[in-house]
């Protein structure tokens, strides 16, 4: 390739890959598009014939996946050299489909952004805290498809009450509510929920007589969307048993962490100097496309702090261990460790099957799941905050 063939040169930060390929496509260009980035281990190549990409190559790999990866090369430089292409075709789709799909994957966080630090499971919209350090959890945009009716509560009204039965599910359309647990010693605020947050949990889909685990009170005038419980239950019961168990297992963690939070407030929490007979499970060594289901023995999820261990929750047979990126689970391997008992046994569960099932869920159910994992992340953070605060007061 000689310099004289180069007909177009520039930066993808100015003209992004989608625009560039549309431009080259519009003029029916044939040639090689070379991408170079200081963050890459070498140049990337896209082979174009008559305006359509036919192959992409990077290092010793080529094909459609490599092409998609290039959408993450946000600040690379490009050169297009016009030349005849004699090359095997590995990409069959036309350019608009490739572009739209590539951008969709970029938006869905399925493509790594080159040069941008890879952030594990984004903790969306949970950095908000009020003056007292209590987190305010917001949810994604409300999907009105499952909203049957709207309810209004005035400031101070209790929407659900701890230990009372109830299966109603709401999504917050407007306003803020407080979630708290009451113990004989007093009450502990766990979190605050705002627009897009859900009241009522996935657990209520399991049993007809669901006991509320906390009280929810309106802090402002609150507008709630009443969710179609039966429609959600219907959809839920169509899920595979395995997926249901995964969700209940996440919910189970949330309930336990919430309890720990409440205990911590009254200094009734145990902090372990060591994990005794329990051995650490190297969760980062679980393959990316697998999680573990416990078949025997026990496991404890802990947060290490100052050479001590704070217990977040205990897991038993039927519970799951591992990172589920599309559910943005938040404990292991990034922010917690798992220790297992001597008689621990587990089986591997394929994540791709679960992911496919997840993709087909309605937006409301996806939002509910996301809300549960967000609450788990936030409540685990809250536990650490409470412990820190009580320490600094001592």
């Amino acid at each position: 390739m000689t310099d004289s063939n180069i007909v177009l040169k520039g930066k993808l930060s100015f003209l992004n890959l989608a625009e560039l390929i549309q431009l080259l496509g519009g003029s029916g260009s044939t040639g090689i598009l070379t991408l170079s980035s200081t963050h890459a281990k070498g140049p990337g190549y896209i082979y174009m014939v008559d305006g359509n990409p036919i192959d992409a190559a990077y290092q010793d790999k080529n094909g459609r996946e490599i092409f998609n990866d290039f959408f993450g090369w946000l600040d690379a430089e490009f050169e297009f050299s016009e030349e005849k292409i004699l090359h095997r075709k590995t990409i069959q789709k036309n350019r608009m489909e490739l572009i739209l799909d590539g951008l969709r994957m970029l938006d869905d966080d399925l493509i790594d952004k080159l040069g941008h630090a890879h952030t594990p499971a984004k903790k969306s919209k949970i950095d908000l805290k009020d003056d007292a350090g209590i987190p305010i959890i917001k949810g994604p945009l409300v999907d009105y498809l499952y909203v049957l009716d709207e309810d209004e509560f005035s400031e101070g009204q209790e929407i659900v009450v701890q230990e009372k039965y109830g299966n109603w599910l709401w999504v917050i359309l407007e306003g803020t509510v407080e979630v708290f647990r009451t113990l004989p010693e007093g009450r502990v605020t766990i979190s605050k929920l705002s627009e897009g947050g859900f009241i009522g949990s996935i657990g209520s889909l399991k049993e007809k007589t669901y006991v509320r685990s906390a009280t929810v009170k309106a802090l402002t005038r609150v507008q709630l969307g009443v969710l179609d419980y039966h429609q959600i239950l219907n959809e839920f019961s169509r899920m595979s048993e395995c997926f249901q168990e995964v969700l209940f297992s996440i919910e189970n963690r949330l309930i336990q962490v919430t309890t720990e939070c409440t205990k911590a407030q009254f200094k009734k929490i145990k902090i372990f100097p060591d994990m005794g007979d329990f051995k650490q499970l190297k969760t980062s060594e679980i393959a990316d496309d697998k999680i573990l289901r416990i078949t025997a023995g026990k496991a404890v999820v802990v947060k290490p702090a100052n050479k001590q261990f704070i217990q977040l929750c205990r897991l038993k047979s039927g519970d799951f261990i591992g990172d589920i990126p599309f559910l943005t689970t938040s404990h292991e391997p990034y922010s917690a460790q798992v220790f297992i008992s001597g008689d621990f046994e587990s089986e591997k569960i394929d994540l791709i099957d679960l992911k496919e099932e997840y993709n087909d869920l309605s937006l409301t159910l996806k939002n509910m799941i996301l809300h549960t994992s967000t609450c788990l992340a936030v409540t685990s953070g809250r536990l650490i905050d409470i412990l820190k605060n009580s320490k600094s007061k001592q």
Binding site: E19, E97, L103, R104, D107, L141, V147
Partner: protein, 204 residues
């Protein structure tokens, strides 16, 4: 901003179907793709974005004349509703020449319509375009649901809430059966081509 392709003497312009998720944008496009087969060039591209799909195909409007001796090719797109699809939305809206806003007639979706229209306004502003100037047509979709006993908003109310300030052509439709889809498309194409004609006159 239409693209003039000198190689094949074609003017390419872009018509985007905008609106809240599940208001029927894709249903509109699917109906057009099926009912106006002869005018469709190439296959319909469908990308699964969360909430709804993003569709794209090329369309040759017939009987609306040429511009400066060039054929007009229209790219029809739907835009993904979800906030996170920023890159996709930017690409689709870039250089848009005309917009069909598909509103949902279901009473429970009232707020969604308004939020989406506000989003459109903001997204256009970011590209230096004004919702008042760009060729725009409103469609009140899913009118057929009234027959199924579902609560839908009267057209008058929707006009009042969505079109009071814009005062653009609006159509009732049931995209599932195709009713009103053709009228919406023709009106949008007419407005878009007229606006392009005017642009090219200025350019002379």
């Amino acid at each position: 901003m239409a693209v003039i392709n000198l190689k094949n003497r074609q003017i390419e312009c872009k018509l985007v179907f905008y609106g809240p998720g599940r208001s029927g944008k894709t249903t509109n496009l699917e109906y057009i793709h099926k009912a106006f087969k002869k005018q469709v060039i190439g296959k319909m591209i469908s990308i699964d974005t969360e909430g709804d799909r993003t569709l794209f195909f090329d369309f040759l409007p017939i009987g609306l004349g040429k511009i400066k001796g060039c054929d007009v090719k229209v790219q029809l797109y739907t835009v993904p509703g979800q906030v996170k699809y920023k890159a996709t939305r930017q690409l689709v809206l870039k250089g848009v020449d005309g917009i069909v806003f598909v509103a949902d007639s279901l009473a429970v979706r009232r707020e969604k319509n308004m939020t989406s229209l506000k989003d459109l306004h903001e997204n256009l502003l970011k590209m230096g375009l004004s919702i008042r100037k760009i060729p725009l047509v409103l469609q009140y979709n899913k009118r057929d649901l009234a027959a199924k006993g579902l609560p839908i908003m009267p057209v008058k109310k929707m006009e009042h809430e969505l079109n009071r300030q814009l005062q653009v052509p609006s159509f009732s439709a049931s995209a599932l059966s195709g009713e009103g889809v053709g009228n919406t498309l023709t009106a949008a194409l007419k407005l878009t081509l007229q606006s392009l004609q005017n642009e090219f006159k200025w350019a002379q």
